[in-house]
Amino acid sequence: MTTAKTIHLTLKVVRQTGPDQKSNLETYAARNVSTDMSFLEMLDVVNEDLTLAGQDPIAFDHDCREGICGMCGAVVNGRPHGPQEGTTLCQLHMRHFEDGDEVVIEPWRSRAFKVIKDLVVDRGAFDQIIQAGGYISINTGGAPDANSLPVPKEMADQAMDAAACIGCGACVAACPNASAMLFTGAKISQLALLPQGRPEAKRRAAAMVAAMDKLGFGNCTNERECEAVCPKNISIVHIARMNREFLKAGFF
């Protein structure tokens, strides 16, 4: 962590004009970067300069900039969301870089996530996985009193650990196999842990895994890169629970 107030960086950014275009690695100088800036604010400033110089600014997804919406994300120097553990790109601050650093910025790479432009990718596959069964099938209006079903605190806490997933896709980006097991596992696990989710646990596990397979993600080889980069520190314990639920669904 630097103590300097401002630093100079060399950015190497993957630029790609559209889904089926070739990508290029372009070099930009980012000068006088305040170390209090977030990474995305640094990109804002670079983009402002590019725009004023008549060039096309770097496209990148972002929204809440509080680390919760899951919209932002890029591979920074070989690591999704950059060097700080448990942190989304928008919450990464420039004090974690040193003066003179070269910073390589790339989009998530996966067959299932097509590049839309520059660092922007299409993560619609995640929505499709959830649509396959990432819900409890109840309609509005029919629920019993909220306290009629006690849930052991430990279970509720573990469910919350899994539910913290922000759907950013860093797990897929980090996985050497571009597998979506952590994302899928987190949802299956959350709902399997709660009594409300038990009635359709089997159906859910089978359907969501099938959807995941169909969408072109790779297979899990237990590399544990996903949990290492997950900005919400979601553990592969949830993948194991998904495996269990899936095997139960298959064999029993």
Binding site: A59, H62, E66, H93, D127, A143, N147
Partner: protein
């Protein structure tokens, strides 16, 4: 055109039930014949889409982000209120209703707020059934906390991520309906216009953000759940994509805009630290449960906080409000922080911050307990500022957070354009001049799950609409207008970016229409905005073309609308010659510097009608009638 609020007759507690009975029902077999467009997938939009699809309507749902799950409801931290009285501390529907009306400084409708309190309990039941992992006690039952100045513990929460969990719950129901084919999802679409045919809302024009195509969609009714307009201030706690465009274009098509000057400034945000700053980060105000707010006694005291002895500290909230202390409502806490900074007692590099100190709480409860309660917030603070709040007091400053104003709606949540419904933060209905903590989630979900699914049926049975398609000339005209506006933005080819203009606008709004306002400043701001707007159309620079993914172009369109909308806010603030809730006009304050309402002249909703480009909007008044609560001066002493 008069404003008909359509509040049902009868005693307060029976109004909603009676209204539900009186609303005509749509035959189950006929529901599938109706198409409904929902714009926005936050709590209000996702819940409405899912619930209406469950009933059988064909729903088309649009969102600006890449997935419905990312709407900004996701960032709400603290919790959601409900009148469950699980804590046995004397809570009731009536008390929640009363607190909300009082907290809103008596500028909300009694009937709406009472209904909100009534359905609050259903929301918790439904969300638990959906699998929302609310915090629980060791007995397995739901845990509650007191929040944002409430004297009862009625707030349900899921760590510091309540909004996220509620939104993911609504998103899961939405996904279920998408899989069932009852909802068609359109992501990365920016609503740029409303299509009105024969006086009724019949569709929308959107820009496909991926390829730039201008698309039109037709329906029998349109629901806007597009959130608030806090980004008119440039810096706010809103997400970057939050904007006023959908609502503002609806306003231009005839929907009245109500109380736009009612904006909420949240007291516990991380202070601004540079010109490049793109947004502000809120920290849950639950922090005020244990943190003590203070500034140095003497203006200009630049010593480090640890160097300032107890005697040199001014715990201004505790001193001024002995019974509520650090837990006074948001507007009061914010204004007092600003007051201290205006006196030169602000801390930090910019002098625009006050301390929020946990030293006493850590000493009393131990670091472990404090970390369990606020660990994730402390972590977030440390990440952003590089300082450790366990060791040194946090610095906080107020930031724009929520907008109580919005499109005017009647009791059915329908705007002044028949067939255009508005839910959640986008409407004006339930929070009056100030919103209480943990009530935004409640209102969004109440509107979406439990109100609009019924009231929209009442509208649709009014029936007799002929089926129309997007081939109708009104759709062509609206799409054409949108396309030419985009061309206009691209054609300026000036020297300043949209972001740059936005920053300038934000400074004007914050300076003159922020926490404290006065007539001279507002008049000044109105002129400045007009000047900035004319510069915008002369000197805007948007790179590239419209026929592709172009974030600068998206931004430019939004800033163009903010530049017009900002003026509407100023006009509304000028018209309301009183102080109430989030609207504080310096000319109207009590001797203790509290907001002084003028109930005789301003117990009304101000609804503004668009009168044409360059024309002053037309003022309409909806008087507020209080039959069940007595208006009193809020006092938190």
């Amino acid at each position: 055109m008069g404003l008909e609020s359509r509040i049902p007759a009868g005693p307060l507690a029976e109004k909603w039930d009676r209204h539900l009975f009186e609303l005509k029902l749509v035959n189950p077999a006929n529901k599938r014949k109706f198409d409904i467009i929902v714009v926005g997938t936050g709590l209000a939009g996702a819940a409405a889409s899912a619930s209406m699809a469950e009933l059988g309507y064909n729903v088309k749902t649009f969102c600006i982000q890449d997935s419905p799950r990312r709407a900004h409801s996701i960032a709400a931290q603290g919790g959601i209120n409900a009148a469950k009285n699980y804590s046995n501390d004397g809570d009731s529907i009536w008390r929640l209703f009363y607190d909300t009306i009082k907290g809103g400084d008596y500028r909300a409708r009694e009937a709406n707020v009472y209904r909100l309190a009534q359905v609050s309990n259903l929301i918790i039941d439904h969300c638990v059934a959906q699998g929302v992992p609310f915090a629980r006690d060791y007995g397995g039952l739901l845990s509650n906390r007191s929040f944002g100045g409430a004297q009862v513990s009625r707030t349900f929460y899921a760590r510091g991520q309540t909004g996220q969990q509620l939104l993911l719950g609504a998103y899961s129901s939405l996904s279920r309906q998408a899989a069932a084919g009852k909802v068609r999802l359109y992501a990365r679409r920016d609503m740029l216009d409303l299509v009105v045919v024969d006086g009724q809302a019949r569709g929308i024009v959107v820009r496909n953000l991926v390829n730039g195509d201008i698309e039109t969609y037709a329906a029998d009714a349109v629901v806007l759940a597009t959130g608030g307009y806090g980004n008119v201030f440039y810096l706010s706690t809103n997400a970057m994509a939050c904007n006023v465009t959908a609502c503002f274009q609806a306003y231009k098509k005839g929907a009245f805009f109500a109380n736009p000057c009612f904006t909420q400034i949240h007291p516990t945000c991380i202070p601004v630290h540079g010109d490049y700053q793109s947004k502000l980060t809120l920290m849950s105000e639950s922090l005020r449960n244990d943190g003590r707010v203070w500034v140095p006694q003497t203006p200009g005291d630049k010593r480090a906080p640890g160097q300032i002895p107890e005697a040199g500290r001014d715990y201004f909230l505790e001193n001024k409000y002995p019974s509520f202390g650090n837990l006074v409502p948001r507007d009061v806490a914010s204004r007092n922080a600003k007051e201290q900074c205006d006196q030169g007692k602000g801390v930090g590099e910019t002098g625009l911050a006050v301390y929020l100190d946990f030293a006493d709480a850590i000493q009393r409860d131990g670091r472990e307990v404090i970390s369990q309660k606020y660990g994730n917030l402390f972590e977030m603070y440390a990440k952003i500022t590089g300082q450790d709040p366990y060791e040194t007091p946090m610095m906080i400053y107020p930031a724009v957070h929520y907008t109580m104003g919005g499109l005017w709606v009647d009791y059915n949540l329908m705007s002044t354009i028949p067939g255009l419904f508005v839910t959640g933060e986008a409407n004006f209905s339930d929070h009056g001049a100030n919103r209480l903590g943990a009530s935004a989630l409640m209102q969004g979900l109440a509107d979406g799950y439990f109100i609009i699914p019924y009231t929209i049926g009442g509208y649709l049975t009014g029936g007799g609409y002929k089926k129309i398609t997007t081939d109708h000339p009104e759709f062509k005209a609206a799409a054409g207008a949108v396309a030419s506006r985009i061309q206009r933005l691209l054609a300026v080819k000036g020297k300043r970016t949209a972001d740059d203009f936005h920053r300038s606008l934000g400074k004007i709004m914050w300076e003159y229409c922020g926490m404290a306002r006065n007539n001279a400043g507002l008049l000044n701001a109105r002129e400045k905005i007009a000047a900035l707007r004319s510069e915008f159309w002369d000197n805007l620079l948007v790179p590239s073309t419209g026929a592709q993914f172009n974030q600068s172009l998206e931004k430019a369109g939004r800033v163009a609308d903010f530049l017009e909308f900002g003026e509407l806010m100023i006009i509304d603030a000028l018209a309301r010659q009183e102080s109430c809730g989030g609207h504080f006009n310096e000319a109207f304050q009590t001797e203790e510097n509290e907001a002084r309402r003028d109930d005789e002249n301003f117990t009304h909703v101000a609804a503004w009608e668009f009168a044409g480009e360059g024309q002053a909007p037309v003022f309409h008044k909806e008087p507020l009638v209080f039959e069940n609560v007595k208006l009193s001066q809020r006092s938190y002493k």
